[in-house]
Symmetry: C2
Subunit: 465 residues, 2 copies
Amino acid sequence: MTAQHRELLVAAVGGDASRVRDGDSERDLHSEDLSFHPPRRPDLVVYPTTTAEVAAVLAVANGHDVAVTPFGAGSSLEGHIIPQRGGISLDLTRMNRIIELRPDDLLAVVEAGVTRGALAQAAGQHGLWFPVDPGADATLGGMAATNAAGTTTLRYGKMRAQVLALQAVLADGSIIRTGSAAAKTSAGYDLTGLLVGSEGTLAVITELTLRLQGIPDHTVAARLSFADLETACRVATAAVAAGQSIHRLELLDATTIAQVNTYQGTSFPVAPCLFVEASGQSSAVDEELGLVLELARAEGAIDIAVEEDPDARALLWRARHDAAYATSAAAPGRKHRSTDTCVPLSQLAAHAAFARTTLEEAGVVGGIIGHAGDGNLHVGIMLDPDSPAEVAMADAYAERLIVDALSRGGTATGEHGIGLGKLHALELEHPDLLGLYRGIKDLFDPRGIMNPGKVVPASPDLPLH
Amino acid sequence: MTAQHRELLVAAVGGDASRVRDGDSERDLHSEDLSFHPPRRPDLVVYPTTTAEVAAVLAVANGHDVAVTPFGAGSSLEGHIIPQRGGISLDLTRMNRIIELRPDDLLAVVEAGVTRGALAQAAGQHGLWFPVDPGADATLGGMAATNAAGTTTLRYGKMRAQVLALQAVLADGSIIRTGSAAAKTSAGYDLTGLLVGSEGTLAVITELTLRLQGIPDHTVAARLSFADLETACRVATAAVAAGQSIHRLELLDATTIAQVNTYQGTSFPVAPCLFVEASGQSSAVDEELGLVLELARAEGAIDIAVEEDPDARALLWRARHDAAYATSAAAPGRKHRSTDTCVPLSQLAAHAAFARTTLEEAGVVGGIIGHAGDGNLHVGIMLDPDSPAEVAMADAYAERLIVDALSRGGTATGEHGIGLGKLHALELEHPDLLGLYRGIKDLFDPRGIMNPGKVVPASPDLPLH
């Protein structure tokens, strides 16, 4: 990056030099996410406020072979926002306007930097909500770029299912609009779906049209403890079929429960545990959750707690959402690495057993949590990123888990994405698709400036600076 | 096509000359779909029975610049299966094995030629069903290729939402697998979603892994008649918010109801009408359908009929599913042309009013039916395809409707696709995306042999033969 680049970038954001920053602390803040991946600083942090400014920044970057890595809340778990080749960290958090909220159309139009929480608040005033909750208060642009999921994906799907239309900027600075505000379309190839989950490697998403849902009348949560992980998984897979009102179905193993108890001062039985929530018309909720409780009793549940009260439910879900923090707190000074395998439901119990046994064999300390209703497991491993031996052991463990998931018809990543850490996993999973991925990347981003090194390997001889 | 091509194709299907046909009747059967588009015969019809044979056929075609147009049930409404540049009609109906039905995983693996009806029958034995029903007993490969929808799309989504994984053959004969059997994945760009809806222009889908749903415990249907179309649309948009159990919400205008009465011998009030169906736990169904009926009464519904009995419900839905045939029967000797605009819900009433007024102004005879819950309207126009004046008038009408839908934030096609008839509409809707569509087409099919002339215009100088 030269002084000339910097001048061009200042011009691209309307001459406002305060939005093109190279201070150390600012670069540090944009050098790492929540994962174990080593930080890497950008040369500059640029804060656009409009799509036109994003377009102008990209035109400069593309014309001068400068890498661009989009940045939202920085809550990625796979290194997506680490500027692996330096260049520009494009911070979209100042594009945080809710452009339209249309209750009659059950949709919202938002800028990419609007957070999930801000949309929830605005939609709630109309009795509506947005159903994807990855835990962190991520930006909606970042959530779309990584096709984020959450605890209610079981019923509502991931981000891709919520995005009706996008405005995005291509590498050369051209602005495109995909999709429409209609509930469905068959107009042309599905570029909306292609950009969702492309991890900032094809385009910068600047505006999203999102589906909203009516807030359910009635919600009840339950915590079910079991003697062993396999039984918990078996109940979970059966519960998926209990009905449409079951919208959350989460698994925590005994290790994780113990960490949560320590972290939050709760006293949940230290045993594998399902957190289940049903929502909808109260009669259907009672009927369907009742089925799950019956099932749990028949399978010998050792503890069952049902919570209707909103505060009690919030406490229960805080335990689930804070599980990763609780795991981190149990190993101070270490970094959190999460696996993300996902298998067909019938394989969940066996895959979880494999995860647990292999963890113990390897002598790695870690807890298992999972979106059991989706067949998606996260093993949280605490490691010292400066210890090559620990990193190598965690790598070997993660790969064994991936190979096991693939052998069961599953996938290396249910929701965290490829990012920096799963390039090799993608080669294992889709060796026959690597050429098409590369072709698509080259079509959208011929000079390779867009978030280089994610999803498809960066060419080491790219003249990025 | 030469004798040498034919010999190579016979070799590609294992030397079985009976599966490479050039008889007149066979070529006629593969020359037209259910639409108004003029027929065009293929040179040969080839019937592969395995993915390997499809690969061998495509390798021959690609090596000799022969066009290939996949064929399923022939029930397209936009000319998808018409071999616009001659060559091979690749009939996949003999690939009709249900490879796996996995109730525990709520999925099925099927060959592309399996029909919706065949899957429904097999899944029903396990208390499961497949929720996309476009009316015709289409093949699942064809439904995926066109991203088909149906009356339950309101609740379950279109084909893209049901497809977990695909096996497909690229133009050069290479076989790829996208997706996985897990309920969700974030591994790489979404090629599954890209191939779904690509209308046979990027690859031939040979095998699909599809989500299945539990058959709801309880289903109730209702027919609601209103004094005018706007009121019917208004009730429809409000009914969408009534709850998750509302899974069908269809609109028929007075003209269509009159045609249905004549065709089926029914005596429904000749007035705009909603067909609504709710399913799920009986308590939720009663509660939510009750809300819709209350709403209808408040809006002055002139007739309400509620049907719980399966036979009575079947009769009601036969009326809806046969509406297009009833319209055809009302104009013997003419061809059916259907528009397919889709708008945000709040725009449905105004768009429907525009469609009706413009129809009357143009003096075109046609009925309006619609997937009202999705904001998707079909105006069925009966025309003489040999009358340039009638064709021109229908073209002009269709374009006015599309321009109106686009001005309301909608789309030219909610579900029928681009095919032959909406290339111009796609230019109107997504002028900024045409270059990317072309780039994707060229990446997957560099020689332009895959269903040429659909989605993206065929190069007239392609040396296809």
